[in-house]
């Protein structure tokens, strides 16, 4: 199956002073694919997300999205091209209501996408998305007063509102109950059925196993495995990285 | 006419001045560079120190440097009080930056105007045995009133450097500066550490104030000239780096003095601010910045 990759990042390097966060990492995501990104704490997963989304610039390496080189583009332009991400620690627009939070990506990102909902009004679209994530009843509540779970959902809703082709979900499930984890998984699967490729970064193994078609493992800034979840889980090096010697 | 003699003297004077600038800036290096508190009012604390030295000198004849050393613990306490207030009002709620900035801006004004009302617009100076005479050798004439503050400043800065890199508390503060969250998870009272550091920062203002009034006459609005200098040095040197502060201060002092000598003193304020703008535009992390 040789489909043109949606995301094709090669040789991504990032140093912070003397610390090497990413050491020549390659990552490919095909359209509509479900990829799990796992690794011990501090292995560079969030740094990689930041480099891909444009929150920080990598030292070296190229990133192509739908064939276009994007490594020099600022984050907002990458979002407009179709990459959306959530933040590990939710960063809501605290002065706005829940639905207000969604109008920002709808107006500033989705409007610039070729398929980005120019049909219904922003408000209607936002309410639909909130319906999907289960926040409809909180639409007009101030976003500052939400619970942890609700904030995670808002993060996801905001990323969805950007109408991405690739969604990077950075530890959206940390600290959630089993039920809530299942909720998020089914939501992501639903999005995936609509054609959105998803990179899921998680520590919750059952979620990664259930969700991913492919799993990538980062340890100390290096990619050590990139295969189907079953193969990766039985990889000796991966097991060692997680459980120690 | 610019002679070699003139230039050499300018360079040497510039170095002496730069040393003093390091003492002026070190408080900001700590407050802003390490604690991320934009204490834009720091220069008026220095002026306050100068005026305290002035009053004591005028009424009791006490040496200004001695006065400020005695005043240092008071300024330390003042720093702690201000930090407590700042922390309770701004940092806890997390809305930090803009409001903290405006807060210190307000403090700047209140203190400056208080000094203005108390002392008027005139310049004040102190009388000591070492203001006046020069020490000289060969072509170089060093005013004693600049040499002594230079020596004092270098001592202060070196002392603080040793404190932050070799004492337990000092290194704890540096650790807080780098990763407060991690430290708080290790049951370290980060607020107390930062409070201590801020107290130290304000305490340095007292000492710098003493040096200032020895070097030149002081009036209440002099602080404004120093705001730009202080932040220029801090940014140029690299936030939070004491070594960087010293290097940047020496550079700035020298460039300023040479500019004054060649083009006239009215151009001096522009030097530091232009340096600041350039640094921000080209290399915002500064000389020693990471």
């Amino acid at each position: 199956m040789t489909q043109e990759p949606l995301l094709d990042a090669t040789s991504i390097r990032k140093r912070f002073g003397g610390f090497v966060a990413l050491d020549a990492v390659d990552i490919i995501v095909r359209p509509g694919e479900r990829v799990g990104l796992i690794g011990p704490n501090g292995s560079g997963k969030s740094t990689l997300v930041n480099c891909l989304s444009g929150a920080i610039t990598s030292d070296t390496g190229t990133i192509r999205f739908s064939g276009r080189p994007i490594e020099k583009l600022p984050a907002h332009q990458r979002t407009r091209l179709g990459i959306a991400r959530t933040f590990q620690i939710p960063l809501p627009f605290a002065s706005m209501t829940v639905v207000g939070n969604l109008t920002i990506p709808l107006r500033f990102a989705a409007h610039h996408r070729p398929d980005g909902g120019q049909g219904e009004s922003d408000l209607d679209q936002a309410l639909l998305i909130l319906e999907d994530v289960g926040l409809r009843n909180k639409a007009h509540a101030p976003s500052a007063g939400l619970t942890q779970v609700e904030m995670r959902k808002l993060e996801l809703a905001r990323a969805i509102a950007a109408r991405p082709k690739l969604l990077i979900a950075d530890e959206t499930m940390a600290g959630l109950s089993n039920f809530e984890v299942d909720e998020i998984i089914s939501l992501l699967l639903k999005l995936n059925k609509q054609g959105i490729a998803i990179i899921m970064i998680e520590h919750i193994m059952r979620a990664v196993m259930a969700f991913s078609q492919r799993a990538i493992v980062l340890v100390a800034g290096k990619k050590i495995a990139d295969d189907s979840p079953d193969v990766v889980m039985n990889n000796a090096e991966v097991v060692r990285a997680y459980l120690g010697e | 006419m610019v002679t070699f003699n003139l230039l050499i003297n300018a360079v040497v004077t510039g170095i002496l001045l730069g040393g003093f600038y390091a003492a002026v800036t070190i408080g900001i290096t700590i407050a802003f560079g390490m604690l991320d508190i934009v204490n834009i009012a720091h220069p008026v604390f220095i002026i306050m120190g100068s005026f305290i030295a002035y009053i004591v000198n005028r009424n009791f004849g006490l040496d200004p440097l001695l006065t400020v050393i005695l005043a240092t613990p008071l300024f330390f306490l003042l720093g702690i009080v201000i930090f407590r207030f700042y922390y309770a009002a701004f940092e806890k709620s997390g809305k930090g930056s803009l409001r903290g900035l405006a807060f210190f801006f307000g403090i700047l004004f209140v203190i400056e105007v208080t000094l203005l009302l108390a002392f008027g617009v005139d310049y004040r100076l102190v009388q000591t045995s070492y203001i006046g005479p020069n020490i000289g050798f060969k072509h170089i004439d060093l005013p004693l009133r600049m040499v002594i503050p230079f020596v004092g400043s270098m001592t202060l800065v070196t002392g603080l450097y040793v404190f932050f890199s070799h004492t337990f508390i000092g290194r704890a503060i540096m650790a807080v500066a780098q990763d407060e969250f991690a430290l708080s998870l290790m049951a370290v009272d980060t607020v107390a550490l930062r409070q201590l550091a801020f107290g130290v920062a304000i305490a340095t203002a007292a000492i710098a104030g003493g040096f200032l009034i020895v070097i030149q006459p002081v009036d209440p609005s002099l602080g404004r000239e120093y705001i730009g200098r202080v932040f220029a040095i801090c940014v140029l040197g690299g936030l939070g780096s004491i070594t960087g502060t010293v290097i940047a201060a020496l550079i700035l002092g020298t460039v300023e003095t040479i500019t004054s000598t060649l083009f006239g003193p009215s151009w001096a304020p522009a030097v530091s601010f232009a340096a600041l703008l350039l640094t921000l535009a080209i290399r915002p992390s500064g000389i020693m910045g990471r």
């Binding site: 959306a84 | 934009v38 803009l98 940014v235 703008l277």
Partner: protein
Amino acid sequence: MTRIPSWIWPIIIAVLVFAASRVVKNEYYMFAGYVVLQYIVLASAWNILGGYSGYVNFGSAAFFAIGAYGTVVLDKLWQPPLVVAIFLGGIVASLVGLATAYLTLRLRGVFFAIATLALAIVLQTLVVNWDYVGGPLGYYSVRPDSIVGFPSYVNYLFVVMLVLALITVLVARAIEWSFIGRGLAAIRDNELAAECCGVPTLRLKVFATMVSGGLMGMAGAPFPYYITYLDPNSAFSLAYGINSIAMPLIGGMTHWIGPVIGAVLLAVIQQVATVTISSELNLMIVGGLLITFITLAPNGIVGLFETYRQQRHEHASP
């Protein structure tokens, strides 16, 4: 019953004030009123960047002085109509804003704030050393004796500033309600999240700085004719710097009416204080109010009003 759109009110009030200016003979009110109107412009203009996006500008005096000294240069060259001077002053100030913004807005807000302070001092030093405009000694501009259509030139200046104030307030409101305003609000809440939601943060911040700086420059342009003797200390007065921050903060930074309230309140207090006590005490009062409000009521008078309204609402419907 249809709601009156809020932008009608400033126009109505402006018309009323204009009508009053036709009737009132005592020129003192024109002089004092000019200052209040000038601060409405400065405060509202400052708030476009500071209040809406959260980037603090300490150098309002710089932009103001660009307008003022721009007029001085024009006055020496060819004495154009005031409107031209205002327009040109606005353009130059706006371009300086562009340059400053582009250089420093990629960094944290704190560096922008410090850079604006630096800008004010650099410009002041340049002007002090520029003998063409009088250097440290200042410049005397001759105020025309009269002008067609107005009882006196001072009256004319008052009306000009009134129009400027109206324009500034309407521009501020337009921005606040537009998608630009929403983008700025997102930047203020969380710039990183905004950027990742597709908001072109740099572009919006630069735009806000240009508009803000340009309006401040326009406020400064008539100043030489108002004060007739312009020297660097008065043009670059730190009073402009602190008032531009204090007025929106005390009035309320999230709504366009906040700076207006703050400007009127503080300008009147300061006028009264100057006349009754002393002019030094002015800045102390402003500084004191700034500290008080920023600690106790950071959302300003508008914020207090909204909290009061919310509490009444909660009381009414249990």
